[in-house]
């Protein structure tokens, strides 16, 4: 079941969607979500530009993507209808806020005739509900609530209505409203009244004849919570701080969508987290690097444009060989691009987007909850190998949520900072004397006797003294490449249930859900044999990638870019991988991958 809530960006659709998501998770359905909103905080009301939507896919089987075609559309005004109706499955359900369909709003949305009167909605099951009017009526008599305030609670009416339709429990939403508006009793009461009115309307009105029951998904036993990629990432960073015993130092500059990580982490002083909102992107990454020198787990996060600004400092971290985690929540580019839309087109920039030879490890989470583990992995590599690490998330992962089987924290990897404590060559301390993994010692200011200076100028290996010697620079350049190549990464795992697949679908990042979903569907419904694999480490690549690629007749690589991973695979392994590219600001959908698979297996 795929439900899409759509309205003006001021209508509170994201809130409605996220509350519905939590209630859905509570009843044990598996789910995935896709918030879809404009960059403008309040685009002109009533226009298609200002439409904000939230989609949730839930079912009793495991869900991997937010769904392709909504079965149910909740549209608060004509603009929401005109921009979203095209995606609704034929025969699907459309629930409309009738009060939003004024002549004025119809004109702003671009309708020449009233879709409620003409044939626009033929073939859909349509419910016209005067949500604004009913909300205003339900809140009459609450002291301190104007009719304008009341009308703004109509999103809670919609939430109540849909909660009834899908048998969601009301307690979590009621408890949430009570807590959220604890200090504003009038608003609290208005929202509660609106929510209850919507729920009761669903129950009593004859308009809605069918209620849907979705059985809980079969899931491995354990404790679950609902989590989106941003929360999971924040939790992962906190976990890395605790597991390493290092102070988590997070500096960033506000940018959509990465600001959410700052918001999430800034609440956790009680868990030892220090956050700084820096004066700009460059300051943020420098503060994190300075903190790393001082013995902290230095982390910064940004999105595309911020990565451009940080690149010089990331190069400095490569030269200084200090641990640093740089998170790029990718968004559609170039330049400002589409700040709220997803894309995965920063892969080559992460790998190569710095001057000079400046290799570093790159890690990409595959699902919202995987952001937790990927954050720990990035921190582990950074600390153990004394290197900046780029974590490539994206807008889709950051905003999507899914049920997360909470890990046993005692099984999380330990991270050992292994600070230098004394001289490493006779009585001397050489800051660039290396261990077997080619990592240099991390000697923190305040440690007696280990005073040293590091910087961006080329250093003599061992002593760390400035050196312009030709043979030393050649040696250091190769050494910096080698030490990243030596970072241990797990082998690429292949899922080939029949064992006879000719086609391998290889993905990275947030395409995981769509690829897995597509493979399952074609195996089940078309009897097609197809293998899948997913790259979590983009640098260094797992040692067996070449062998895996060469063991399939064809390799399909779906990407939300113009084929960046394919370039790397072709260059590294001389295998003619095939690209499926999608750059429309939306995630890769299951249907996209199914079509590409079927086109290649001769269906």
């Amino acid at each position: 079941m795929v439900v899409r809530f759509a309205g003006d960006s001021g209508d509170g659709m994201q809130l409605t969607g996220s509350r519905f998501t939590d209630a859905t998770a509570m009843v044990g359905n598996d789910l995935a979500t896709l918030p879809d909103f404009p960059a403008e905080i309040r685009a002109p009301a009533g226009t298609p530009h200002g439409v904000s939507a939230f989609q949730i896919h839930f079912a009793s089987r495991d869900i991997l993507t937010p769904g392709d075609h909504p079965n149910v559309l909740v549209a608060m005004n004509p603009a929401a209808l005109i921009t979203n109706l095209g995606t609704v499955e034929k025969g699907g359900t459309v629930i409309l806020n009738e009060d939003g369909f004024t002549q004025h709003n119809l004109r702003k949305a671009g309708y020449d005739s009233d879709p409620l009167e003409d044939d626009t909605l033929d073939g859909y099951q349509v419910f016209r509900v005067p949500m604004t009017t009913m909300t205003v009526r339900a809140t009459e008599g609450i002291e301190g609530v104007t009719s304008r305030d009341a009308a703004r609670s109509k999103n809670l009416f919609a939430l109540g209505l849909v909660s009834f339709m899908y048998g969601r429990p009301t307690e979590p939403s009621i408890a949430w409203i009570e807590k959220k508006f604890d200090d504003r009793p009038a608003v609290r009461d208005a929202n509660l009244a609106a929510f209850r009115a919507g729920y009761n309307f669903g129950e009593t009105a004859e308009l809605i004849a069918v209620t849907y029951e979705v059985e809980p998904a079969p899931a491995p036993p354990g404790t679950y919570r609902n989590v989106n990629g941003t929360q999971a990432l924040a939790f992962g960073l906190i976990a890395a701080g605790i597991k390493s015993g290092l102070g988590l130092f997070y500096a960033s500059y506000p940018i959509t969508p990465a600001s959410e990580v700052l918001h999430a982490l800034s609440r956790y002083r009680r868990l030892g987290v220090r956050t700084i909102q820096a004066e700009d992107e460059i300051a943020a990454v420098n503060m994190a690097l300075g903190a790393a020198f001082a013995g902290q787990l230095g982390v910064t996060a940004t999105s595309g444009p911020g990565m451009d600004l940080k690149s010089e400092t990331i190069g400095l971290a490569v030269a200084m060989e200090l641990p640093l985690v740089v998170i790029d929540v990718q968004r559609a580019g170039p330049s400002t691009g589409m700040p709220t839309k997803t894309e995965a087109a920063d892969l080559l920039a992460a790998l190569y987007g710095r001057h000079g030879e400046s290799p570093l490890p790159v890690v990409a989470p595959s699902t919202p909850s995987d952001c937790f583990h990927a954050a720990i992995e990035a921190a582990r590599i950074a600390v153990h190998h004394r290197t900046p690490v780029i974590l490539l998330s994206d807008t889709f992962l950051a905003n999507s949520s899914e049920p997360w089987l909470l890990p046993d924290v005692s099984t999380l990897p330990d991270i050992d900072p292994g600070f230098a404590t004394g001289p490493n060559q006779d009585d001397a301390f050489l800051p660039y004397l290396r261990d077997d993994s080619l990592a240099r010692p991390w000697a923190v200011p305040g440690t007696p006797g280990l005073r040293h200076r590091i910087g961006g100028l080329e250093k003599e290996d061992g002593t760390g003294n400035i050196s312009y010697q030709p043979e030393n620079h050649d040696h250091m350049t190769r050494l910096r490449a080698e030490r990243i190549a030596r970072v241990e990464v797990p082998a690429l795992e292949v899922d080939d249930p029949e064992g006879d697949a000719q086609l391998l679908v290889l993905g990275w990042g947030s395409s995981y859900g769509a690829i897995q979903g597509a493979a399952r569907r074609v195996r089940r419904e078309q009897g097609v044999s197809v293998a899948t694999a997913h790259l979590r480490h983009l640098n260094p690549l797992p040692a067996n990638v070449g062998e895996v690629l060469r063991s399939y007749e064809r390799v399909l690589v779906p990407e939300m870019n113009m084929g960046q991973l394919v370039r790397i695979l072709r260059a590294e392994y001389l295998v003619d991988c095939e690209s499926f590219t999608k750059v429309d600001g939306l995630p890769i959908f299951t249907r996209d991958v199914i079509a590409e698979i079927l086109a290649r297996v001769g269906e």
Binding site: R225, V444, G455
Partner: protein, 364 residues
């Protein structure tokens, strides 16, 4: 050392590996620090005759006074001739990229209030490419000592005009003379509401030591402009306040609580003239009572700003010394202590509780 006013905090659990043995037992036996303890084994590579040599010698000589072991001192620099400073100090050091030293240093200082953190920068590094970081470090009042070596020229890139070069300056990049209006670094720092702003001269060892002492004692960000002669690309830019025979006439030494007067016999001074503006006067004419008394502790910055504008350029009588020295909460200090205490007690239990916060459900 706690409470010695050196702008750093110690003995609060920020200890690093191996430190305890030294600080608890070895310190009493250690001989007093000397200049040699702060001098690294690296060969200094500035041009012969550069003002940076004098500054380096002064700083190395001054450091023992702090009473802080070199292991707890961090120098952070950017790019430019001044950037090399870090390699010559036998302390911990970071040589960052162009303009970003205040941001790097903010990361060091806010996470480790037990360290004494010094930034060395130049007029191009701090006022051009890194202007933003400088003003933000100052307005936040990050506990940093920022030394700006102002030579009014780009030296390392061989002689382009800088943001402090005078209008009309002919350089390699301005063959017809610069059209840019220059920054007055002291005015800029005051505009950013820095809590400590001072100026000194590279070769005036005693005045520099006095100024560094005051900067070190200040809690929070301290900004010190140092007039530094570049004898290759901009020789003599500060002769009015630096050269023997002229400095005696032109240095206006600001001292808190004292009349602002100058000249070999103190025969000249600063007084408020008609229209309320500060003016240079002959004491004999204006009278002792008319002379301005300097107040560096005035929270309201307009007097300091007026003083910074007494001389548009350092070509005549020019104030040096401490313009402003006021107290404001030090950025991040309390939080750092709180976090350090919190972290000591964190473990997997707290992590587990975090993951289970909010709404959860169980599948059996």
């Amino acid at each position: 050392m706690s409470g010695n006013g050196n702008g750093h905090v110690d003995g609060l659990g920020f200890g690093q590996p191996g430190e305890e043995a030294v600080s608890e037992t070895a310190v009493p036996a250690v001989a007093p620090l000397t200049k040699a303890d702060f001098s690294s084994d690296q060969e200094t590579r500035w041009c012969p005759g550069c003002g940076d040599y004098a500054i380096l010698a002064s700083v190395q000589s001054f450091m023992p006074e702090l009473g802080i072991p070199p292991d707890r001192i961090v120098f952070v620099t950017g790019i430019g001739c001044a950037g090399r400073f870090v390699y010559y100090m036998d302390t911990y050091g970071m040589h960052g990229i162009h303009g970003r030293a205040p941001a790097l240093a903010t990361g060091v200082a806010t996470s480790r209030p037990d360290l004494s953190v010094w930034v060395v920068s130049g007029d191009g590094d701090a006022l051009s490419i890194g202007g933003n970081h400088l003003i933000h470090a100052l307005r936040r009042n990050v506990p940093l000592k920022i030394l700006l070596f102002n030579n009014q020229i780009y030296g390392l890139t061989k002689g382009q005009y800088s943001p402090t070069s005078e209008e009309g300056k002919v350089t390699k990049s301005t063959p017809f003379g610069s059209q840019d209006h220059p920054f007055n670094p002291v005015s800029l720092a005051l505009g950013a509401e820095a809590t400590f702003v001072a100026r000194t001269v590279d070769t005036d060892k005693a005045h520099m030591a006095e100024t560094l002492r005051a900067a070190a004692a200040h809690r929070g960000a301290a900004f010190v402009e140092i007039y530094q002669n570049c004898n290759v690309f901009n020789d003599g830019a500060f002769d009015a306040v630096r050269a023997k025979g002229r400095r005696e006439l032109n240095q206006i030494r600001l001292e808190h609580g004292k009349q602002v007067r100058f000249g070999p016999e103190g025969e000249r001074g600063v007084a408020r003239g008609e229209g309320g503006r500060l003016e240079l006067v002959d004491v004999a004419e204006a009278g002792e009572d008319a002379l301005l008394v300097h107040d560096a502790h005035r929270l309201e910055p307009s007097l300091a700003f007026e003083l910074s504008h007494l001389a548009a350029r350092p070509t005549g009588p020019t104030p040096i010394g401490v313009f402003r020295d006021v107290q404001r909460p030090v950025y991040g200090e309390e939080l750092a202590l709180e976090l350090e205490e919190t972290r000591a007690s964190l473990g997997t239990e707290e992590l587990d509780r975090l993951l289970h916060s909010g709404e959860t459900w169980t599948v059996s």
